[in-house]
Amino acid sequence: MTWVNDVVQGILLGGFYGLLACGLALMFGLMRIINLAHGDLAVLGAYLIYLLLQHWHVSPFLGLLPVLPVMLGLGYLLQRTILERSLRSGLLVPLLTTFGLSIVIQNLLQQGFSPDVQSLGASAGGIATASWQITSQLSISAIGALTLGVAVLIFGGLQLYLSRTASGRRMRATAQDPDTAELVGIDSRAVYARATAIAVAIAAIGGMFLAIRSTFYPYSGPTYLIFAFEAVVIGGLGSSLWGTLAGGIVLGVAQTIGGQINPEYPVLAGHLVFLLVLLSPRGGLLNLRRAMA
């Protein structure tokens, strides 16, 4: 029964990883670049909410609302100023510039806030600690269920946006072939900027859940970037959005089961599963997903 509990907790944790990975997958699927500052942008979102909550004593969920447009704008600017130029110089340069950006964000956070660990769990009220006891062995935490629910909503919403709206269709066309898309009048640079804005805003939502579920400090970003990236790779490298959520869930389950085997090794177990997926021909889950489709 503890195994069932581990799997359930892993799935809930996977929703959180999927949420962190969503923007990364969107950008990788569209531009073939990985934003190495993605985790730091999530942590930045958490700090912005933390800053708001110091002045107004509201729930972090309300605090997120004014932060979202800020992060949208930040993502747009990031694309227009740094990533656009980087993309023009090949595939290596975006890695170098976003890695530089990651170091800048971490150390500015360290400068602007204290190096102490923070958490928004207390400000979130009862939801951070509430849980439903299903059986004596199995309980579902409210915040875990909410994270997974929000993740499903965001993935579903993004999927609808990509498949049903004109703007989303332009994005898919650009993802398939930017040059041809340009020929039929799509401004790929505007599409990229919109995608990065969305990706950074979703990262901030992930950052809020990170802040409520656990603690964060200025250098938290890289850990979560790695988890998010592992979810993207396990889920088939951004070839489908739902694959990324599934990848997050696989990672979450691997971590909780690894933690059950040895309490010291949950993260290591996640890394090992990721490396095993790399070893399998063409990445295991991608094939699984195709088989199910």
């Binding site: 190495l36 170098l96 990651s102 170091i103 800048v104 400068q111 970037l225 990236f229 010291e264 090992l272």
Partner: protein, 348 residues
């Protein structure tokens, strides 16, 4: 990177040369510099010797990261894996009654051996996947070490066996070994780049698919660079331990090492032979002036790396080479219109 052919009549034979008078002079000068550096501990005090050890370790790190990224097109964010492995393997060997200095050499070789299976895993990737794949390996190693009680777990360990040497001679030995390692790895890279393999490596760097289509064995070339870079980073790790005598997993497996490497190589010139050495000197001077751990110092490093990647992608040295046509180290070829024309353009 190929410049237009010089304006000579098509029928006239062209000379292809590696050595110019300048590059002969500088390669000789480089060898002379290494010989001169041997005498640093004799001529200067213990303080200078230790500082020079730090600088040489930075040079080694930069040159090795550049070998991978500049010539193989592989951006690794996980070279700290080998830095940590080199340092911890040294401690492990020293704990098993191996002479500490011999342990450093063996640990370096060990890093190269470990890199063989890892290369098969990692070289399936390009670009971002490779970057984060190497990072995950480094994180996994750091976690593993931080739970291993025999290696001091999370609180770190020290190379106490080296106390059998008195502090004065010890610093000299450490310096000489670092100098030997740095010169050795720079020499290996120099020979590699001048071999037949060197041409294929530069073809891979410029366009991997095109290189593969004309029969360059892309993966084999990358694997050699991967192994070289891992071994060199392992040596840098062993020398970092020898210089500081104490390590803890979070610090020695820190991604900051990669940040330093990226900074040094981008400032000096990605894919140039001399650039990383310049970059290492720049980083060393910045560390002297702005302290080692200040927050603004790291903001500056990250910002400068971004600025160089965007605005001056060939770095200080690469830009200088491009503007002046000067080559100090003959790792490329020069194509000239006649045997003795000075205004030679070149193709790389």
């Amino acid at each position: 990177m190929s410049a237009p052919a010089p304006s000579t009549p098509p029928g006239r034979p062209r000379a292809i040369a590696r050595w110019t008078r300048l590059s002969t002079g500088f390669t000789g000068g480089f060898g002379g510099l290494v010989v001169a550096l041997i005498f640093v501990p004799v001529a200067f005090g213990a303080n200078t010797t230790q500082e020079m050890t730090t600088l040489l370790t930075l040079v080694l790190m930069a040159v090795m990261w550049n070998a991978l990224a500049g010539y193989g097109g592989l951006v690794s964010i996980g070279q700290q894996a080998y830095i940590g492995l080199g340092a911890y393997a040294t401690v492990w060997l020293a704990n098993h009654a191996v002479n500490p200095y011999l342990a450093m050499v063996l640990a370096t070789l060990f890093c190269g051996v470990v890199a063989v299976p890892l290369s098969f895993l990692m070289l399936r990737f390009r670009g971002a996947q490779f970057a984060i794949g190497t990072w995950v390996v480094a994180e996994a190693l750091a976690i593993y070490v931080s739970f291993d009680n025999a290696l001091g777990a999370g609180s770190g360990t020290s190379l106490s066996q080296i106390d059998s040497y008195a502090p004065g001679p010890r610093e000299h030995y450490t310096y000489w070994l670092t100098l030997a390692m740095t010169a050795f790895f720079i020499g290996v890279l120099f020979v590699l780049l001048r071999s037949r393999l060197g041409s294929s490596l530069q073809a891979i760097r410029d366009d991997e698919d095109a290189a593969a289509s004309v029969g360059v064995r892309v993966v084999a070339g990358k694997r050699i660079l991967f192994l070289l870079a891992a071994t060199g980073a392992g040596a840098a790790g062993a020398m970092t331990l020898a210089n500081t005598l104490f390590i803890e997993p979070n610090a020695i497996f820190s991604v900051n090492y990669t940040a330093y490497m990226i900074f040094m190589v981008l400032v000096g010139g990605l894919g140039t032979f001399e650039g990383p050495i310049i970059g290492a000197i720049v980083l060393y001077l910045i560390q002297q002036w702005f302290g080692n751990d200040g927050v603004w110092y790291l903001v500056g490093l990250g910002g400068a790396a971004m600025a160089f990647a965007l605005l001056l992608p060939r770095g200080v040295w690469g830009t200088l080479e491009e503007r002046t046509g000067l080559r100090f180290m003959p790792v490329g070829y020069r194509v000239g219109p006649g045997p003795s024309t000075a205004s030679a353009k070149e193709s790389r």
